[in-house]
Amino acid sequence: MMATIRRLFVPLTVMVLLFAFPLATTGFYLEFTSKVMILAIFALSLELLVGATGLVSLGHAAFYGIAAYATVLLSPKFGAASVFWLLPAAVTCSALYALLVGALSLRTRGVYFIMVTLAFAQMAYYVFHDTKLGGGTDGIYLNFKPEVILFGTKLLDPGKPVALYYVVLVSLVLVFLFLAVLLKSRFGRVLAGIKSNEQRMRAAGFATFPYKLAAFTLAGALAGLAGFLVAVKDGFVNPEMLSWHESGAVLLMLILGGMGRLSGAVLGAFAFALLQLFFQWEVVFGNFAKHWPLMLGGTIILCVAFMPNGLIGLPAQWRARRARKTTEEARA
């Protein structure tokens, strides 16, 4: 009982803080936190693939971007769409592409898989970048944000930042809980088994391909949810949302926060966004701030080298190091 309370203490506190946040702030901070929570959903979707199943995808941004574009492209030009069909439609677009890419990519392993997922994401990027479909490099605007209309009454106006904030927060909580339950289920355990030792799973009688494909498609769908939310929030989409920088960034969030834990993904999203903001802070870095990718790149290298279990794994890392030191001292 106590152990459960201790484990839940941090996530619950964070949740309470997040729920109370809009009461204390407005404007930039509110918008920033909304964005970060959307990135957290994006990161959670990748955690299902990388952390839970061991499939390192370098093309996850494609599913994020496709849903975002679908949101804008499927919205009628002269009125608001109902979120009740727009959201499923956008997510389905991402899920379908994930199904297709997964069916082909999962025929490969290891490094090949990494390269192939990147290539398929690049293919989607080029479709939006080079063709008129996506308005080219300039991107396209969402004319009317979708509305939540139930039985004829407008429940929420996503145009209002506070309303959107809560929509995103609730989505994040729901996705987190869903994944937490899913990973403990039989399906989730099979994924864990595949990550640990796929050969043994096959020898026991699990056809591993359908499971991996299901995980890949689900991860794509959840990334699509994040894409939908960001399109509604910003009212604007552009091809860079599918770029490999975006795919690299979300992978980075996972390793920054710590893989193998759902809270690691959320923590990583916050850490990444804050780092990026920090490196662009002219007050600290002056003129050098415009070269923030340099510092980000250096930080990535240092993080991976010295913090392989991410921020979440730091307490355990410190404890292990202290334990080793005391045994060394005891021996001396």
Binding site: V56, A119, M123, V127, H129, W244, G248, L251, H291, L294
Partner: protein
């Protein structure tokens, strides 16, 4: 399409494919022998191009001197990079390698931004290669492009000789199929790795330098070539230089003719090719072992 146009496109495809081979061969060798997936490999290509641009005024436009200087710098740079950075990647899993080399890309891009700039540049074709060859009645083909293909073919031939006929090549082939065995044979593995890495860097830098007059010098060129090289390596099989050669030519043909025949689908032709091959032969066309 009439014959001269077809011929021109064939030569373009050949030139593009051969340049791709130069870059991809380094990538596949480094992975095949050292087991390191290096996302920053495309950056070397970009560095080569920007080197050609920056060094040109130093040598008063003497392209040959620029090339030599660039290659020397590339080898030194590659050697140092392996020693200081890449050697720490060998024991790490693919995900960590991917992320650390991704960080490296960001560092390289910004360094270029600081040391040179973020602009698009042209590099003039060296005067003694600045001419055209007549093809048919109406078509002309730049001599320089033929020279690029020739240089790539020469390098490919040299690679073949080294890999197939020398002791170093034997170690490379052995290391490619069984890394642990090579290590246990007591071959100075550290030196071998450093040499292979430096060679891989030099190949990519060379490709970037000779490509500069043709494809111009722009910030995104590293990323672009990297992803295409991934397609080449997937099709050709990791660790197989022969596979990389054939796959690079195939990709060159599909990309060039794809752009000519279906300009709307321009960028995606090679990915469709990759998808088709994955459907048919997931292990790659020429995978060894």
């Amino acid at each position: 399409m009439d014959l001269p146009t077809f011929l021109v496109q064939c030569l373009n495809a050949l030139q593009y494919g051969l340049l791709l081979f130069l870059v991809a061969s380094g990538l596949t060798l480094i992975f095949g022998i050292m087991g390191v997936i290096n996302l920053a490999h495309g950056s070397f290509y970009m560095i080569g191009a920007y080197l050609a641009f920056s060094l040109a005024p130093v040598f008063g436009g003497n392209f040959a001197a620029t090339l030599v200087a660039g290659l020397v710098l590339a080898v030194i740079f590659g050697y140092a990079l392996e020693w200081l950075f890449v050697s720490y990647l060998y024991e790490r899993d693919h995900l960590q390698q991917v992320l650390m080399t991704y960080g490296l890309i960001l560092v390289f891009e910004e360094l270029r931004s600081i040391l040179v700039d973020n602009d698009v540049h042209g590099v003039p074709v060296p005067k003694w290669l600045d001419g055209s060859v007549q093809l048919g009645d109406l078509m002309q083909y730049p001599v320089y492009r033929l020279a690029v293909s020739a240089v790539c073919l020469a390098v490919a031939a040299a690679l073949y000789v080294v890999i197939a006929r020398t002791r170093l090549g034997m170690m490379i082939r052995a290391g490619s199929s069984n890394r642990e065995m090579v290590q246990s044979l007591g071959i100075n593995i550290k030196f071998l790795y450093r040499v292979v890495f430096a060679a891989g860097v030099a190949l990519a830098v060379l490709a970037g330098m000779i490509a500069a007059p043709v494809s111009s010098v722009y910030p995104g060129m590293g990323a672009q070539v990297l992803i295409v090289c991934f397609v080449v390596v997937v099709i050709g099989g990791i660790g197989s230089v022969r596979g990389a050669f054939l796959a690079a030519l195939l990709v060159g043909i599909v990309d060039t003719f794809g752009k000519v025949l279906f300009p709307q689908a321009a960028g995606i032709a090679i990915y469709l090719l990759m998808a088709a091959i994955l459907l048919w032969k997931p292990e790659g066309l020429f995978r060894q072992g």
